[in-house]
């Protein structure tokens, strides 16, 4: 299983996207960034302009994204028989218990609060990468369509 792992990051903040990219520097997975929930669903369903998009192995989802927010994206993914087996990690600045509860209610695979310090942030991203791609076993990348 040496194919490149694909991560989809749903994030409207360019700086957070940049930091995530930096945090993953030197690690295997390829990062795709979309700016809001609508784009995320287009990416996942391979609708234009994402007709050639790969199926991600992991989704990093911010809760507060424009147009369609993270909760709606999460609900849409988990209701979609083809998409719901992709692990979704909610990655957000919020430490509100309400957000945490909603995320798990909507079947998020885990909830991670973004640390402010970059070293800790990088550590968090790398831990996620380590856990989901090296320790956990994931379903095969291309589900039958």
């Amino acid at each position: 299983m040496n194919r490149t792992r694909e991560i989809l990051l749903v994030e409207d903040s360019p700086s957070d996207a940049f930091l995530t990219r930096e945090a993953l520097r030197g690690l295997g997975p390829r990062l795709h960034v979309v700016n809001d929930g609508v784009e995320a669903m287009q990416f996942l369903r391979r609708e234009p302009p994402f007709a050639d998009a790969p199926r991600p192995d992991l989704i990093l989802l911010d809760l507060n994204t424009p147009r369609m927010d993270g909760r709606e994206v999460l609900a849409a993914i988990k209701q979609d028989a083809h998409l719901r087996c992709i692990p979704v990690i909610v990655l957000t600045s919020s430490t509100r218990e309400a957000d945490l509860n909603v995320a798990y209610d909507l079947h998020a695979n885990c909830y991670v609060a973004k640390p402010t310090d970059f070293n800790q942030f990088r550590e968090a991203i790398r831990l996620i990468e380590t856990f989901w791609f090296h320790l956990a076993s994931l379903p095969p990348g291309e589900a039958p369509r």
Binding site: S13, S15, D16, F18, L19, E22, N64, T92, S93, S94, T95, R96, E97, A98, L100, A113, K114, P115, T116, D117, F118, N119, Q120, F121, E123, A124, L127, T130, F131, H134, L135
Partner: protein, 552 residues
């Protein structure tokens, strides 16, 4: 990467995720016990004083009347025994009874009368004499004078009605300070007042006294003593309601005099008119009835009016209270929103600043040189401090915006949990923590944990060269518990004893002692939310003791 390594790395950043607290907007509900309600409507000091004055002056007046009647008997002055020929004289035994009963009522005004031996004996003697004379009077009347009371004492015995009135007064006096019996004393006082008033009104209307009727002077003095007895403990029994600060009390105080005086006055007018031949009995009675109706309608109208006014005011106040509560709920929701904005929206740019600079450092650090390094360090340091401030502010705002109900909480358990949370710094400083048995109090457990944890953590942080020794104890004081956390640290100069409890107030540089200055502000807010106080006593260089109280 091995599993152990993973755990180690998780611990590295996991503690920064911040405490997660319940999210709920609640308003504190005010539930009052009957005792608290009674306290709110308790008589004001000036009202009580007015009733005491009534009691004092009526008792003095009754002593004066009784004394003069006795003088009249001793020196044979008729006017001092009866106001007019044809009206029976007040007998010496009734006069004596009036003096002793009046003296008893007067003595009952004294503060702590039962604690002062001589006065207490005097009071007992007065009450005893009144009761005895009254009992003898009744017995004499029932026994048709066969008991020999007059022969033995040389005094004419009192009439039956007098004896009954004073019997009621004597029994009432006996019961005044018996627990919960003041109502009985009041009823007995009212009974004797009714008996004497009936006699007085009879004389005023010119009715011929029936056998056993009270003489006029006796009736007046018995009425005075009864009034004194009824008013002597205006903060207890039925009188507590009349004297109370409630609407009922105000109405009672205004209406009672009118309902007593007006019908008697009207009856007198009717009788005068009739005996002057202005009208016959039937038209007089009609006049009396109609006049009474008119008076009662106007009194009732007055009552209706004031009730209406008060009720309108109360409803308005209720409406305003509801509006205020709604406003408070809205502002609580705003605060919640504010907390969310700080936690999310402010952190994102902070992360952008410190993250980008750190990326700059790790990617191009060598090319940038020492000065750039330093400026990067300052940037990152600043961003981190701001992050801590935001987190602390959030913690502080959550203290009041997310109020959980107070539940019985075992402080031993809470302290144990606080010490477990502080395990690492406790071990590092080799601190010795001891504690007494701590009670169960009504508290918000999460918040109480913050108090214990902050106080113990402060004791560790501001330690001296000595091995830190911390002792936690609790002491029962009145209706509250006083907790203390004592340490042998560097102490606090007394002039700062108040300042340390204000948010973001610090006494040391960040270099010496890191922190934003939120811990004690949190403690103060939590303790005050629970209805307690917090303060510090300290000897610089010797150590500090933080005290806080929690209601039982």
């Amino acid at each position: 990467m091995s599993g152990l390594d993973l755990v180690g790395r998780l611990e590295g950043w996991g503690h920064d995720l911040g405490p997660r607290l319940r999210s709920r907007v609640r308003l504190p509900t005010i539930r009052r016990t009957p005792a608290e309600r009674a306290e709110i409507e308790a008589p004001t000091a000036s009202t009580l004083e007015r009733f005491r004055a009534v009691s004092r002056w009526t008792s003095i007046a009754s002593i004066v009347v009784g004394y003069h009647v006795l003088l009249g008997h001793v020196f044979g002055i008729d006017l001092l025994r009866s106001p007019a020929p044809g009206i029976p004289s007040m007998t010496p035994s009734a006069a004596l009874c009036t003096v002793t009963a009046g003296a008893a009522v007067y003595l009952l005004q004294r503060p702590h009368i039962w604690a002062q031996r001589t006065q207490a004996y005097l009071l007992q003697a007065c009450v005893g004499a009144t009761a005895t004379l009254a009992v003898l009077g009744v017995a004499e009347n029932i026994g048709q004078g066969d008991l020999g009371f007059e022969r033995w004492t040389g005094m004419t015995s009192m009439t039956l009605m007098t004896a009954l009135a004073f019997l009621a007064i004597g029994a009432g006096l006996l019961l005044v300070d018996c627990a919960r019996e003041y109502r009985v004393a009041e009823v007995l006082g009212l009974a004797s007042a009714a008996i004497s008033l009936q006699a007085i009104v009879g004389y005023v209307y010119g009715a011929a006294p029936f056998p056993g009727q009270m003489p006029l002077y006796t009736a007046v003095s018995a009425l005075l003593v009864s009034t004194g007895l009824i008013c002597v403990r205006a903060d207890q029994g039925f009188m507590a309601k009349v004297a109370s600060n409630s609407l009922g009390g105000v109405m009672a105080r205004r209406l009672l005099p009118a309902t007593l005086i007006v019908p008697i006055l009207l009856g007198w007018l009717q009788e005068r008119g009739q005996s002057a031949g202005i009208y016959d009995f039937e038209p007089g009675l009609a006049f009396f009835a109609i006049a009474n109706v008119a008076v009662f309608v106007s009194v009732m109208w007055w009552g209706v009016n004031s009730l209406y006014r008060m009720d309108t005011k109360r409803r308005q106040a209720e409406r305003e209270l509801k509006e205020t509560a709604a406003k408070l709920r809205r502002s609580n929701a705003d605060l919640e929103q504010f907390a969310y904005v700080t936690s999310h929206d402010l952190k994102e740019p902070l992360r952008a600043i410190s993250g980008s600079v750190q990326v700059l450092q790790s990617r191009f650090g060598e090319a940038l040189g020492a000065e750039a390094e330093e400026s990067i360090r300052h940037t990152v340091d600043g961003a981190n401090r701001m992050q801590t401030l935001i987190d602390d502010l959030l913690t502080y705002s959550r203290l009041t915006s997310r109020e959980a109900p107070l539940e019985p909480t075992n402080c031993d358990d809470v302290l144990g949990e606080a010490l477990a949370n502080l395990e690492v710094p406790l071990k590092e400083s080799r601190a010795v923590v001891t504690h007494d048995h701590l009670p169960v109090v009504r508290a918000d457990r999460t918040q109480l944990l913050q108090v214990f944890q902050n106080l113990v953590s402060n004791a560790l942080k501001y330690r001296s060269e000595r091995t830190p020794k911390i002792h936690v104890s609790a002491e029962h004081r009145g209706d509250e518990w006083m907790f203390s956390v004592r340490d042998n640290g560097i102490g606090i100069a007394p002039q700062y004893a108040d300042r340390i409890f204000k948010i973001f107030q610090r006494l040391h540089t960040r270099k010496d002692y890191p922190g934003t200055g939120i811990g004690l502000a949190v403690c103060k807010t939590v303790v005050e939310r629970h209805g307690g106080r917090i303060w510090v006593e300290s000897e610089p260089e010797e150590g500090s003791t933080f005290y806080f109280t929690l209601p039982q």
